[in-house]
């Protein structure tokens, strides 16, 4: 298990390899489709400070508000490939060191990770309750009214947030490896 404290830096992230398990402490920000197109199209300045050296978590949480304070109830990763057109440019613009999600991302993002010194981290899809338990505090929420609960950018402080490196900054992708192997078996099964 490799410990990562946020904000982090390029050297730390470049040391990570596909298959490494990480445990993250610090402040990260959630962002899905609406947030990514907002960041790319409007390049808002209000989130620069937050995102530099941090991570963006593809997650639309279930939240609850008690005594005026937000709490994460369920918060697993969402499918990352929807952010494929945006991810590289957004990481570059804001100095983001990792995207966390599920299902992996494509060639464009893999190239960006190599260029920028960033990684893609895979959390266990559907493990929403235990991932929410690693969210210790909700610091802020950005664009809640406009984007709605799942799509808003939640600024969260995490402790021992677990994920696996499935795309590293050296051009390796576990998703490409598994796909290539399974394609061979698929062709055998189909007699193609």
């Amino acid at each position: 298990m490799i410990k990562i404290n946020l904000p982090t830096d390029e050297a730390k992230i470049r040391s990570l390899k596909v298959g490494d398990e990480v445990s993250i402490d610090g402040i990260m920000v959630t962002g899905r489709d609406a947030a990514h197109s907002w960041m790319l199209d409007e390049k808002p300045d209000e989130i620069r400070e937050l995102l530099k050296g941090s991570m963006i978590y593809h997650c639309g949480p279930v939240v609850d508000k008690k005594d005026g304070e937000w709490r994460f109830v369920a918060a697993g990763p969402t499918t990352s490939i929807r952010e494929e057109p945006y991810q590289g440019p957004v990481m570059k613009e804001y100095g983001i060191r990792a995207a966390i999600g599920k299902g992996g991302m494509g060639a464009k993002t893999l190239a960006a990770l190599k260029e920028l010194g960033a990684v893609y981290l895979h959390a266990v899809g559907g493990a929403a309750t235990i991932l929410a338990q690693s969210v210790k505090k909700v610091h802020d929420v950005i664009r809640l009214e406009e984007f709605g609960v799942p799509e808003a950018m939640w600024v969260i402080e995490v402790e021992d947030f677990r994920a696996v490196v499935t795309m590293d900054s050296h051009g390796n992708s576990l998703h490409d490896t598994v796909k290539a192997k399974s394609e061979k078996i698929r062709n055998e099964l189909l007699g193609l």
């Binding site: 298959g19 609406a34 997650c59 639309g60 949480p61 279930v62 939240v63 609850d64 109830v73 369920a74 918060a75 697993g76 969402t78 499918t79 490939i81 599920k102 299902g103 992996g104 895979h122 266990v124 899809g125 559907g126 493990a127 929403a128 309750t129 235990i130 929410a132 338990q133 709605g148 609960v149 799942p150 799509e151 677990r162 696996v164 499935t166 576990l174 998703h175 490896t177 598994v178 796909k179 192997k181 399974s182 394609e183 078996i185 698929r186 099964l189 189909l190 007699g191 193609l192």
Partner: protein, 295 residues
Amino acid sequence: MTFRLNHDRFRDAVLELIRLASTDMSPDVVKAITMARDNEDAGSAAKSVLNVILQNITAAQDGSTPICQDTGTNIHYITIPVGVSMRAVEKAVIEATRLATAKAYLRPNSVDSVTGKNSGDNTGIMSPYFHFEEWDKPAIEIKLALKGGGSENVSGQYKLPDATLEAGRNMEGVYKCVVDMVFKAQGQGCAPGIMGVGIGGDRATSMIVAKKQLFRKLDDLNPDPDLASMEERLLQDLNKLGIGPMGFGGKTTALAVKIGKAHRLPASFFVSLAYMCWADRRRTMTYSEDEVRYD
């Protein structure tokens, strides 16, 4: 015999149904995941993922919190006694859905497709969704599935023949369609998945047949011997693909394959796959005037 629907009692019973579906995994699914975990190699990523999944199931049950934050589309298959108003049933279920959202059993998941505005309470056009049937029993049965978006996005429909797969209009063709769809899904649908397959019908009924299969117990046996043997063959072969839990590689890509059929037009032959993520959240309520049972 007349069946009197007590609105408040019924609404509260439905609220409990939603809570159970979202937070308390059916025992047959837990059993299948546990067996899959035991079958994966020691020290593998697959085993580790399945262990996290099992821990999460327990934590969700203990805290009454959603197993997955994508609490999905609420799909209701409802059977009512003669004379009960479908509108009255819908009204109570919609109220229960709003309450379940306020209690954070459900995420606000209903978005206007043109404006992008989230309604905030899981209601909207065809949301939630209802299928009604009628029976002679003095009870209302609701089968509720919470179908997550990730798995819905990798679900699909092929039509036979399919030249690229060299798939004809027969069971061998059906086999090829399912293998190809599960291959294409990779880990995106939150593997290991439960594969509901619909053969025949038109485009809509084919998918309804596929989705209805998701209510079957994972260890049941299809009474149709042709479908039963295809279910077994597909389950074995899908697990040879090596996609594994979350697509990290491993022995478990599918937890179950369940197939149903419908008559089709001579001109059409659809094969539909309703891919359900491992977080196979479905529960059934049988509501009568003197008791409420959940399965």
